[in-house]
């Protein structure tokens, strides 16, 4: 058996067994050794037990999609193989101890016994299993053991010399076993290494959003914990002091968003992080942002609902919630970054646009992107210039001054001679409550007219494929790489892709692509095809077919390849 170009390794075990630790160390060392890495996990909503798995794809060229296929499977617990049975083929090489193999698989010829427990017990404690396990993989892939040693020294130096030494021993034993496995077994690994990757950055979707926000000058974060959004707040809380960012866990989501809006009123750049259920509670304040023309940025990491649904799984089912959230009519922007590099860039743009247009701006992500990470070159991580739209006020300043331009200059209290009066009731130019018909009309127009300007700045959808297409696939957000990779595999001359990283307002440039297609197929992780519905609303185009999935699991390349083919045939 030859493992070429890209190898998919899946590690499975119980929550609390340290799969995450292995994921972290392996991706780092594999990258430092010259491989591209991609990792994504699926896990249960529990702290101990259950079955969690992590897929690590190692490749010579950058591969950034979830693969259903498993080339190497490492099991740390009985039940893992059953859990993954749909993904195991007769080519899957299974590494594990007998006690961790489910009965149905006992006579599988591809099982290689790896006595992790025994090795770690001999070293002194089963705690070293993780290190042994990582060592085995690193051995198989001919990585540099020295790099792993250094990693372990850094990681455990605080715990004392003995712990460091035992881990080094565990690493070596595992590493040698890995080498031996490769020599004795009937599979070969044929992956090119690239020394240049050493310097690349590994980021998760979560970290990319957090760092992008920080770069854009986000300095106030208020949140109430909710998976899978919490990571962004956790990350920024960890850097609160050195980055000068106030990060406060508050009593509820209602407080969180009202604080964030309050922070913008006073001149900060506030962010809230949340997921569907929490965002439901925030909707009223989205409307406050709309009426008072006070910006706010909402990082909404989707997971399946309704209600508390599936806390740790993924979905794209809150597009319409974000789109219609808040009562009354007012503009908003909804970004849906599809890639980690884009998440970094878009979270910078989001703050500039919120500031410029004085509106709520959404970064619509999901569990899949939040929990995925891969290596990136510096070129891929784009910096966006921080814009500053706050003005110093004059004595006769009017917060809602009417003019040709629907954007009135935004002052903040204590900066200039003016008084800044902001009001959630309908108001006059100064900010006082009004019921005057003329003013009501003018103010309503002023707020809503901004949408025309915003539209001009909308991120155009990415078109991939032959200009002479008949079929057009449309997708949005985090399905980007799996859809793209599936289409690449299929290599169809008459089918192209139109992918949206901004789902509202939609750039006018989308129209020509949609109108030209004979057949449009939307691919979404939801039941009802929300983007399809939005495209119909905006451009009158009907979806001719849909590929929808709503079981809380991400699309894999193989699954999409199969489904796209089927839809195009039928």
């Amino acid at each position: 058996m030859n493992l070429e170009k890209e190898v998919s390794i899946v590690l499975g075990g119980a929550a609390g067994q340290g799969i995450q630790t292995i994921e972290e160390s392996l991706t780092k060392i594999l990258k430092l050794s010259g491989y591209n890495v991609f990792a994504t996990k699926e896990y249960m909503s529990r702290v101990r037990g259950g079955i969690n798995t992590t897929e690590i794809v190692i490749s010579s060229e950058k591969k950034r999609s979830f693969l259903k296929r498993i080339d190497l499977l490492v099991t740390f617990k009985k039940g893992v193989l059953n859990h993954l049975k749909d993904r195991i083929s007769d080519k899957t090489i299974i590494l594990g101890e007998k006690e961790n193999i489910d009965e149905e698989f006992l006579d599988n010829k591809n099982i290689i016994d790896i006595p992790i427990q025994e090795i770690s017990k001999n070293i002194g404690n089963t705690l070293f299993s993780n290190t042994v396990g990582s060592g085995i993989i690193l051995g198989i892939f001919d990585c540099d053991l020295e790099l792993f040693n250094k990693y372990l020294e850094d990681k455990f130096s605080k715990k004392g010399e003995e712990i460091v030494n035992k881990n080094l021993e565990a690493a070596k034993e595992g590493y040698l076993l890995g080498k031996k496995i490769l020599k004795d077994s009937n599979f070969k690994i044929n992956l090119e290494k690239n020394g240049k990757l050493k310097d690349e950055i590994i980021l998760s979707g979560t970290e990319a959003v957090a760092l992008g926000a920080a770069k854009a000058g986000c300095n106030f974060v208020s949140f109430y914990p909710m998976t899978p959004s919490t990571g962004v707040s956790t990350f920024l809380a960890g850097h609160s002091k050195d980055l000068g960012i106030i990060v406060e866990q508050v009593e509820d989501e209602i407080s969180a968003i009202n604080m964030a809006i309050g922070s913008w009123y006073a001149g900060a750049r506030g962010l809230v992080t949340t997921s569907g259920g929490g965002f439901s509670l925030m909707c009223e304040a989205v409307s406050l942002s709309g009426m008072t023309e006070t910006p706010v940025v909402v990082y909404l990491a989707q997971r399946p609902g309704p209600s508390t649904g599936l806390p740790t799984r993924t979905a794209q089912a809150d597009l319409e919630l974000a789109l219609y959230s808040g009562h009354g009519e007012f503009p908003r922007i909804i970004y849906s970054p599809g890639k980690i590099e884009e998440a970094y860039e878009i979270s910078q743009i989001a703050f500039n646009m919120a500031d410029k247009y004085q509106i709520p701006v959404f970064i619509l992500s999901d569990e899949y992107l939040a929990d995925t990470f891969y290596n990136l070159s510096d070129d891929e991580l784009k910096t966006v210039k921080k814009e500053n739209h706050v003005v110093k006020t004059d004595f006769d300043y009017k917060r809602y001054q009417l003019s040709e331009n629907p954007i009135s200059e935004r002052g903040i209290p204590g900066f200039g001679e003016g008084i800044v009066l902001v009001c959630g009731n309908e108001h006059d130019e100064f900010g006082d409550i009004t019921e005057d018909v003329d003013l009501i009309n003018k103010m309503t127009k002023k707020r809503n007219k901004k949408l025309d300007l915003i539209k001009k700045e909308a991120i155009a959808p990415e078109f991939i494929g032959n200009e002479d297409y008949k079929n057009l696939i449309v997708s949005w957000g985090t399905t980007y790489y799996p859809v793209k990779d599936a289409l690449e595999k299929l290599n169809l001359k008459d089918t192209a892709l139109l992918h949206f990283s901004q789902v509202y307002p939609i750039s006018d440039s989308a129209e020509k692509y949609l109108k030209k297609a004979e057949k449009i197929i939307n691919i979404e992780l939801n039941y009802s095809g929300q983007l399809g519905r939005l495209l119909k609303r905006e451009f009158g185009t009907e979806m001719n077919d849909s590929i929808l999935k709503y079981d809380g699991r991400a699309f894999s390349v193989e699954e999409l390849t199969e489904k796209i083919e089927k839809v195009l045939m039928g």
């Binding site: 780092k28 050493k198 310097d199 950055i201 590994i202 980021l203 970290e207 760092l211 920080a214 770069k215 000058g217 300095n219 106030f220 850097h239 609160s240 002091k241 980055l243 000068g244 960012i245 106030i246 406060e248 508050v250 009593e251 509820d252 209602i254 407080s255 969180a256 009202n258 604080m259 964030a260 809006i261 309050g262 922070s263 009123y265 006073a266 001149g267 900060a268 506030g270 009223e284 304040a285 406050l288 008072t292 006070t294 921080k386 903040i412 209290p413 204590g414 200039g416 001679e417 003016g418 008084i419 800044v420 009066l421 902001v422 009001c423 959630g424 009731n425 900010g431 006082d432 409550i433």
Partner: protein, 286 residues
């Protein structure tokens, strides 16, 4: 007399009913701010919804008229973003105790240096006379025609039980005392709660101006640092004591949040720390 910069001089349309206690509260508040020699540009009133919530429109001051019950979170953020501002959160009893009750509790725990003024007319004014959390038992209203069953919230006892850092109650009818208490509240470092009884002649026929005069008295010789005594006083309802019940010194939120520990520049004035961000990025290479 010196000119009061907080008085709005242009013609404004005040929507409070004739004879309403809100007018007296406005007088006390603007006098207090003026006596404190504050500059309207450096004061922000963040209000909720209700007749009381309209205050920022009736005096010259920065204002944010937010949502029902949400003045406190927004005010906390304003203060934290710019600690150089004097920040007041203002609203009615429905606003602060019903819709915003959770925020009040947690603001006491968080202890930002803001002043919370609660116009307590023991009824909902703006929505026309429904019971509020402080309406007395048996009071009949259009929505409680059989008389209110629920026991009124004792916000003073609640605040003291949570060790709030400044707890007071006053009566709008006594403009000078109210003004004095507001001055003390603003001068106090930490969260200050001032519950202000005031008549609502339109909808509260029980707690009238006369009723408040007869059923309240100002505390004298009370030791505001004695929490037990303060709590005891807070339980009195016949008559209701007025004045400062309790104060204590506690760490203030915007002093202890990490960005302010060693650096006092308000965060709104700071630029992102690009070097540190670069450093974090670089740590992701190895």
């Amino acid at each position: 007399m010196e000119k009061n910069p907080f008085q709005r001089t242009e013609k404004i349309d005040i929507s409070w009913c004739p004879g309403c206690g809100n007018f007296a509260i406005k007088a006390s508040l603007s006098n207090a701010l003026s006596k404190l020699k504050l500059n309207p540009q450096n004061v922000a009133i963040v209000s909720g919804i209700g007749q009381a919530g309209k205050m920022p429109h009736y005096i010259t001051v920065n204002g944010f008229h937010t949502l029902h019950g949400r003045a406190i979170p927004a005010a906390t953020a304003v203060k934290t973003t710019n600690p150089e501002l004097t920040v007041i959160a203002e609203g009615g009893d429905g606003d602060m105790y019903a819709e915003g009750g959770n925020h009040l509790i947690h603001a006491i725990r968080r202890n930002p240096n803001i002043t919370v003024l609660i116009h307590n007319n023991q009824i909902y004014g703006l929505t026309k006379g429904q019971a509020s959390p402080t309406t007395l038992v048996s009071t009949k209203t259009p929505t409680q025609p059989w008389g209110v069953f629920e026991e009124p919230l004792n916000s003073i006892a609640l605040a003291i039980s949570l060790n709030a850092s400044f707890v007071a109650r006053t009566f709008s009818g006594n403009i000078e005392k109210t003004e004095e208490i507001i001055i003390e509240a603003i001068n106090h470092k930490g969260l200050s709660i001032v519950d202000i009884f005031h008549p609502c002649p339109s909808f509260n026929k029980v707690n009238t101006l006369q009723w408040y005069k007869e059923h309240t008295y100002y505390l004298e010789g009370h030791d505001v640092t004695d929490r037990k005594k303060a709590f005891e006083k807070s339980l009195e309802t016949d008559k209701y004591p007025l004045g400062i019940f309790y104060t204590c010194e506690k760490p203030v939120f915007e002093d202890v949040v990490p960005p302010y520990i060693s650096e006092k520049t308000p965060i709104w004035k700071r630029e992102p720390n690009l070097e540190k961000i670069e450093e974090i990025m670089n740590s992701k290479r190895t």
